[in-house]
Amino acid sequence: MIAPTEMRPAKLGIRHLTHRFMIGTPPAPLTVLQDIDLDIARGEFVCLIGESGCGKSTLLRMMAGLLTPSEGQVLHDGVAVRGINHKIGFVFQQDAVFPWLTVEQNVEYGPKSRGVPRAERQQLVAQWCESVGLSAFRKAYPRQLSGGMRKRVDLARAYANSPDVLLMDEPFAALDVQTKGVMQEAVLQLWANSGKTVVFVTHDLDEAVFLSDLVVVLSSRPGRVHSLVRSPLARPRNEATRVSDEFAAAKRALWTELQAARQQPAVQPA
């Protein structure tokens, strides 16, 4: 277990977080997340991994303030998250780019919402369209772009809003393998250049190993923190990383953890 040290204060802290959904008829409470405690250090790339249904997306939505936990709290720089906070950016699994706006209007949306002056907005748009390689498509509508390009728009839109933390909920799950690989490198590039903390939910082991500094392995039903796995891989990472022995070893270690998490007996809430 890696404890946060005084040198790297937690960017995001999760304290005794428990969440229940009411499901079925008659409605009965189902505990999806149980007593989660977690510290995410400033500037780290953290992946949340676990079986489907382990509540990893729910946890991420709580970090964004899109959902309120039944118990416990999420701390952002030590302050409890209440409601949606634009300092925390979110990239969704589904296609969330606004189809009625052009690429540049999408990227401009956040800064415009916050009342950033026009000149500064245009600079942000130019900068982030450039960063994701979409400068030639600034006037295009999302429907004219491929799935991978739309994800780039989504990333640019999130980064252009100058968030402090980026939360990504399986953003590349719908992409083909090759596009996915390219996008993973793009996201690492953005992360390295911006130094912003990223929390990335995935169920793809390769993705978690390739991207993360730290992998949080969640067990299922209810979701609990099973273990924290530090990545042994050096940075920067590239295509060579994927075929290295270290990568294979790291993936094997993570796989073992995931298996152990599955076998962890479910504790019934009191």
Binding site: A64, G89, A96, F98, L101, Y109, G110, S113, N161
Partner: protein
């Protein structure tokens, strides 16, 4: 040139034209049957002659403009109010609480049922005729606008809110644009219900208009003039529907896939 020819030779066009001509032909056949009074069932050439006469005398233009003015004023007021109220009712919870019972109470009542009330309360002047059109246009537009706002995908709302958009900004820049296809559907239905109401409103003591023209001609057994009026109403309705549909398409051009070759 080639494109035009090909378009005209398409089976859908050829068969469609043939189908329409058959109806005209059947009518013509009926009109020419012995024992049919040509004054009551005028043959197509008579109708064409009357059409030209009506244009020359200026009556047709006066009546068309009178109708057009009413329908446009009524439409703009009715559709404008309906879009505004429907959007509010479909999006903001408290506006919904306030407006939904009213919208749902009005919904099953045909606008023409208000005619007697409007006449008694407001009289038989121009305002009454416009109010009836407003009521007729309002209903389909408000129902569609509200439905469109209720169907907005949550993902776009969540995305906008995480980007820092206020509730009002989400309403204006997310909910309304994504509901536009519903707005267009409602506005197109509104054109036809507005036209229906126009004719009905002009049947009651109007001094001018296409509804007045067909009614008045009918009383003098000028069936040919009535038929000309009906044709013009049809053409005008089709024209307005085209305008509404074109306007809608240009507003939703983002939804069309246009890749450069």
């Amino acid at each position: 040139m080639n494109g035009w020819l090909r378009r005209w030779l398409r089976p859908s066009f050829l068969v469609g034209a043939l189908s329409l001509l058959t109806v005209v032909g059947l009518y013509w056949f009926m009109a020419l049957r012995p024992g049919t009074n040509p004054a009551l069932v005028p043959a197509p050439p008579t109708i064409v002659t009357t059409f030209i006469e009506e244009i020359r005398s200026g009556d047709l233009l006066v009546n068309t403009m009178a109708s057009l003015k009413r329908v446009v004023i009524g439409y703009v007021i009715g559709a404008g109010l309906a879009l505004m109220l429907g959007a509010l009712a479909g999006w903001f919870r408290w506006w919904g609480y306030i407006l939904n019972p009213i919208i749902d109470a009005l919904r099953p009542i045909p606008a023409l049922a208000y005619i007697p009330l409007v006449i008694v309360w407001i009289g038989i002047g121009e305002p009454s005729r416009i109010i009836i059109i407003v009521l007729a246009v309002f209903k389909p537009v408000v129902v569609n606008a509200r439905a469109g706002m209720q169907e907005v995908a949550q993902i776009y709302v969540d995305a906008a809110r995480t980007l820092g958009a206020s509730k009002w900004r989400v309403f204006m820049t997310v909910a309304i644009p994504s509901a536009i296809p519903y707005f267009i559907a409602g506005m197109r239905t509104g054109v036809s219900t507005g036209f229906l109401a126009l004719v009905a409103a002009e049947l009651i003591a109007a001094p001018s208009g296409l509804g007045f023209m067909i009614q008045n001609a009918g009383q003098y057994f000028r069936t040919d003039v009535t038929i000309v009026g009906i044709i013009v109403i049809g053409l005008l309705g089709a024209l307005l529907d085209q305008i509404a549909s074109r306007a809608g398409k240009s507003m939703t051009s983002w939804s069309e896939v246009r890749r450069d070759p």
